[in-house]
């Protein structure tokens, strides 16, 4: 019987929820692959995470102790390679997260495995694994297969599968020693995000978010004023922060804040990159304004306007005096 290997992600002793989504992805193809589902926890503190991963359908938990607790990419890659050598899995699932993309390509390159990243859907056709991912800034989609590859390594896009929730139990927990490798980089500590200096965008119910499509810095002032008159809080996409137009505390997305309490999100000139959507696609009512009718943001919007942001904002300012 072959195996599907899920590599759990954790940081500072806490399981990252995307791991449970990978379990769902694994369970969805296990029958067709006639595979056992094994979850590997690489690194220190692994035992503490086993209860959360004792899920229905999981056949075995593999603990892989490492000399250091913090994530270290060479260490994770070596552990992944050793796990593949020991278990010969057909499929290896890793989150498409910052840490995931820091070691998954190394495992695939070193082992000569099949590889696809940021995959949002998986299926089997006969003995073939078929992975679906986006292309061309979310405007197209591709289906990939992996001819001639015994093992296929996949990084899975967060949010593509529902988290597995049904508790299981009784599966064996096996500790697997892997050979040490020389480590050429070391973790020297975390740097916490700066505290909410001005606002807490994650608390706001109504956000007006600006993206690169606003064109110029002066527009941030105009939209800020408009947002104020509408009773909204100003937020933004990442390039606006990178350009220094707004502080980091206003950024929505994977590396910024999540619009946790938001119920109405007006996106002005935001394309809808996956890392931005990560912070807002759950919002009940998204209204997107973009001059490109094919912009990805429209696929998560309830209402859409194909318009020039500057022109629309000028009109809106007259309507919210």
């Amino acid at each position: 019987m072959s195996a599907i290997l899920v590599i759990a992600e954790h940081r500072r002793g806490v399981l990252r929820p995307v791991t449970l989504e990978l379990v769902t992805a694994a369970l969805a193809v296990r029958e067709e692959l006639r595979a056992r589902v094994e979850i590997a926890i690489i690194g220190g503190g692994a035992d503490a995470l086993t209860p959360a991963l004792s899920l229905e359908g999981v056949d075995e938990l593999l603990l892989v102790p490492t000399p250091i607790d913090a994530f270290q990419p060479e260490c994770h890659a070596a552990a992944g390679e050793a796990l593949i050598a020991a278990r010969r899995p057909r499929l290896v699932l890793i989150p498409h997260s910052v840490d995931g993309i820091s070691y998954a390509p190394a495992i695939a390159a070193t082992g000569g495995h099949g590889y696809a990243s940021d995959v949002s859907a998986l299926r089997c056709e006969g003995a073939d694994i078929v992975a679906t991912r986006s292309a061309y800034r979310e405007k197209a989609r591709v289906e990939l297969d992996f001819p001639g590859r015994q093992t296929v390594v996949i990084t899975v896009r967060p949010g593509s599968f529902l988290p597995a929730t049904r508790a299981g139990g009784g599966m064996p927990v096996t500790t697997l020693a892997v050979p040490g490798v020389p480590l050429n980089s070391e973790h020297c500590g975390f740097i916490e995000p700066e505290p909410e200096a001005d606002v807490d965008v994650s608390a706001a119910e109504f956000l007006v978010a600006v993206g690169r499509g606003i064109g110029e810095q002066a527009m941030t002032g105009e939209v800020a004023q408009l947002a104020g008159r509408m009773g909204a809080t100003l937020a933004c996409s990442r390039p606006i922060v990178d350009a220094g137009w707004l502080p980091k505390s206003r950024q929505i997305g994977q590396s910024g804040r999540t619009a946790t309490n938001c119920r109405l999100y007006l996106a002005l000139g935001i394309s809808g990159a996956v890392q931005h959507l990560a912070g807002m696609k759950h919002v009940e009512t998204v209204i997107a304004v973009n001059r490109d009718p094919d912009a990805a943001i429209f696929s998560v919007a309830r209402f859409g306007l194909v318009a020039d942001v500057a022109e629309l904002v000028a009109e809106l300012r007259a309507l919210f005096p």
Binding site: R11, P73, I101, P105, K139, V142, P193, K248, Q254
Partner: protein
Amino acid sequence: MRILVGVKQVLNLDEEFEMRGDGLDVDQDYCDRALNEWDDYALEEALRIRERGGGDIEVVAATVGGEEATAELRKCLAKGADRGVRVWDDCLRDCDGMMVAHVLAAIVRREDPALVLTGVQGADHGQAQTGVAVAALLGWPWAAVVRALEFSADAGEAIARRELEGGLEECIRIRCPAVLTIQVGINTPRYASLRGVTQAAGRPVDTPAFERLGIDAAAIASARASRVRRMYVPQKPRPRMIEGSVREQAAELAALIRDIRGDRR
């Protein structure tokens, strides 16, 4: 000392694009081409290291791409790179990212730099794999998603900040030579000056064949890690569109917002 920056020419689809006859990619006549945004930051970081470090640092921009990708190398030269390298072979038509990584690794072996920088990902497909795969193939140290960097050639190491999720960052110390993938926002990329553009015309772009890199088409082709079965335009959920003149759109939008907000108050 040398810093090598791996750059990619990315394709942006026109509004009215079409699929290629075989259904495996878009018809490239419907694309415009640009330097990958992330790579622009990687190049800028290399140029800054050179400027801080004095005269004896050479910045080489390298790309795996056809003749049309020369335009992107010229942009890098105009911004200040000293030299360009472009590698192409017919076996790379419809190649996957792993094949690119193998070719880039061969370029790095030949150039023998003290540091390799690439972007975190390509803006077109977001695969986020090249830099890390190159490092693994070389057996070099690496770090991904770097948003602050202090490189010390003398100490043979770098101190870097990796950007994690939710605004958290991690500080690392890494031995060099290493491959680092650079995150947008690490710096503010410069624009090419007119003088830079003129100077760039005189700077060399080398186009070594596979043999000169010690690789061959069969080996590169066998590095393929995935194959495209088909590419298609997905049926995406469409929102209700608010149409009309901008004035009409604004009026309807204002009413809609008041309506939604009113319900809640």
